[in-house]
């Protein structure tokens, strides 16, 4: 029998009457985020995202040859995604290998990104997307979508646009964005969301917990606003390596 050296503690107050959250944020405030692209040498494209306490690495391989061969699509690229959590990514060690949750998340991440990819440009090939959660702190799937979308762009895959993602939700009567660990555990509703910002179309949407009609509408709008902010961050992160090159060419470095 193995017992973890970890005890979960529920905070007494999830959100104050003034709308101050357990980590001191306001309802519409995001946690600190940093995005970096091109962090891996062997992958065709890669990105690293630090979002609150999350540390997530995404890599893209392809377009490349399809194995096994029977999965080949003659008219477009096959798109595969794998979401995986490291054994040391959680307070209690996670057994390596896929579980039901990671299989579902792999599917919704793939379906969040696929509409953005011009798969018809790469018939008979495969584009593999890998999302590795090194450290988890609520909102790993949306952080993973942001990183994977940047890794696709970093790999030079032709896309309709970037997919950005953020979770929104409800704690008591407050609609909040970017749920933290406490809100994820004990909040009333959780709604991860991703959008192809070019056309403002939703590519990922899940809800876990009840919201009234007006709360739901407010959540959707807060999600879109948050995602728009993340989308701008993604573009900045993708441009950064080229700005470094530009500065070095101009002799500023």
């Amino acid at each position: 029998m193995v017992m973890p050296l970890y005890i979960e503690k529920k905070p007494e107050v999830l959100i104050t009457e003034e709308g101050i959250r357990t980590d001191g944020r306001k309802p519409r405030e995001l946690r600190p985020i940093r995005m970096t692209v091109g962090v891996l040498d062997k992958a065709d494209g890669s990105a690293f995202i630090e979002w609150g306490g999350n540390r997530i690495l995404a890599a893209v391989f392809g377009p490349r040859e399809v194995h096994p061969k029977h999965m080949i699509l003659p008219d477009k690229a096959l798109v595969r995604a794998r979401y995986n959590m490291a054994p040391f990514s959680t307070p209690e060690r996670k057994r390596p290998g896929p579980d039901r949750r990671s299989v579902e998340l792999s599917k919704v991440i793939r379906e969040a990104l696929k509409p953005a990819i011009f798969a018809e440009n790469y018939p008979g090939s495969v584009i593999d997307i890998f999302v590795e959660v090194l450290r988890s702190d609520a909102g790993t799937r949306v952080a993973g979508v942001n990183a994977a979308s940047m890794a696709l762009a970093n790999a030079g895959i032709s896309m309709r646009g970037l997919v950005a993602a953020c979770a929104v939700g409800r704690v008591e009567n407050f609609v909040i964005c970017d749920l933290n660990h406490d809100e994820d555990m004990w909040g009333n509703a959780d709604m991860p969301m991703a959008m192809l910002m070019e056309s403002e179309e939703v590519t990922l949407l899940q809800i876990d917990g009840p919201m009234t009609e007006s709360q739901f509408k407010e959540a959707l709008e807060l999600g879109r606003d948050s995602i728009r902010f993340l989308y701008e961050m993604q573009k900045e992160a993708l441009k950064r390596p080229y700005q470094v090159i530009e500065r070095s060419v101009k002799g500023d470095l």
Binding site: M3, L40, K42, F61, N84, A86, G97
Partner: protein, 268 residues
Amino acid sequence: MFGPELITHNLLRDYIRELASQDQRIDGRSLHEFRPIEIKEGTFTKAEGEAWLKLGNTQVLVGVKADVGEPFSDTPNKGVLVSNAELLPLASPAFEPGPPNENSIEVARVVDRAIRSADAIDMSSLVITEGKLVYMIFLDMYVLDYDGNLEDALTMASLIALARAEISEVEVNDEGEMIIKESKWKLRLKDIPVNFTFVKIEDKLLLDPVLEEEQVSDAAITLAIDKEGRVCSIQKKHGMFTMEEIIKAANIARSKWPQITDKIMRVI
């Protein structure tokens, strides 16, 4: 040596062999020189101890997690160490998702063996109640970017992660209940057994091979050296070595031990 996708072009193979015969290498290093070693600063896991290490373009992340549980019945006065390596599909086009294969199992065991054979961890210090309750140390090795020589990179990162680990103290009260305390204890290392991997190309021994050198090599061997300068574990992989070559490899490894240990000591 992983997978058919990584068949090195004949031209590159001939080039690496030609260079080796002249005591040179594709990245400009001398034959017995390590690539730059960098330990990334920051927190990247939820582990009790961790290390993100770069050895040239090879990147590994090792996390040490601790749980408590029952000891094995044949070692009631010893804690438990479980080592596991994952060759993540994002680390190389040749790695595929799935359960550990022979390569990931071998590399995990090579690292584990160096640590155990040198007695680097005092396993009896992991006992809480003899025969009943012990700390279980999980050494999870994650390969993020594969450009050769996982053995040495993972061993260095594992030693750092173990030495950095701070584990919650546990007490058993009179009723036999387990109490997790706020205070932490540090897992101290009694030894620093470093692994040194060599490949043989054109009868030359090359330390710390890059991926392409591994692929074109005639043979490969990994040796661990402890603080007394003793060889405490060896894994010969593909190919053949003469006895003289093995002794030479051990001597080179011994001479490199202080340099690597110094790097490790500086970050733990």
